[in-house]
Amino acid sequence: MGVHVPDGFIDAPVSAGAGVVAVAGVALALRGARRELDDRTAPLAGLTAAFVFAAQMLNFPVAAGTSGHLLGGTLAAILVGPWTGVLCVSVVLLVQGLLFADGGLTALGVNIINMAFVTVLVGYGLFRLLLRVLPRTRAAAAGAAFAGAVVSVPAAAVVFTGIYALGGTTDVSIGKVAAAMIGVHVLIGIGEALITALTVSSVLAVRPDLVYGARGLAKPLELRPEPATV
């Protein structure tokens, strides 16, 4: 089961600072999400958050004695939009912390930064960049989803290491933390990417119009004003 950063890894000042950043980011996301949500997409967004919660329970083995689980930021952002995606993962983290004692309450800011902000920024950002250069096909969208997700997980590990460097309560060399964190999260990223690509392709197969990040995929090239010669 999802095990996030607990209380006591990061000192109080840095945890509080992360909390302030998280609150500010979530406030921005609440504003941004209003542009992404309407009567049709709001229910899908709620279900996407529920799906991320469910998928985070499914730890998969990645190496001897080590497991990983979906973070879900890239997936949620592709399905329902980046701002709403940030909110989906944040709601999951909030419920996990308050109801399931998973993820320290003082570490909630750290967890939101790593698992909501970083994964959406990096994973969805890369997805969109790739869509610009790839052909407008479902296969290409699934590939871009895979690439975004695969990079998003080690990116979250890098940012965790940075936060640990600022406020870690123990005295472990940053190089060692970085190497170990990035190493294992490169493997977890592959699982993240498989789940993300599989889910995105499944939704694209039945309801391509509902995939926020790939809207316009099936449409012909954008309409432009053209001379009236028919």
Binding site: V3, F9, M57, L58, P61, G65, L105, G168
Partner: protein, 101 residues
């Protein structure tokens, strides 16, 4: 697939994953936990302040059967996330159809 049917299938998949499939999830420590234990990051880890809550650690307190306890906790979690998230998204939504929907 019709909108309503799609949403129902999406919900059922989540409930099945959280309620049934989660029992078969790996119980090994996850990447962060493993690195923290191996490298000593977790030396000053504190217990969760809500570790005695009824759903702590994805189980239902008082339910002895692991499969049932975990499954019920998972289903409860899906429900609560859907309620909190879906509720917030419903309140945030624009009342007119999206521009490029």
């Amino acid at each position: 697939m019709k909108n309503k049917r799609f949403l129902v299938v999406f919900l059922l998949v989540s409930l099945a994953l959280a309620g049934v499939v989660s029992y078969y999830a790996s119980s090994s420590p996850d990447g962060l936990e493993k690195v923290a234990a191996d490298k000593g990051i977790s030396a000053k880890e504190k217990d969760h302040s809500l570790k005695d809550s009824p759903f702590a650690d994805y189980g239902v307190k008082g339910v002895g059967n692991g499969r049932l306890s975990g499954g019920l906790a998972g289903i409860a979690g899906v429900g609560v996330v859907l309620l909190v998230g879906g509720g917030a998204f419903w309140l945030l939504r624009r009342r007119a159809p999206a521009r490029d929907a």
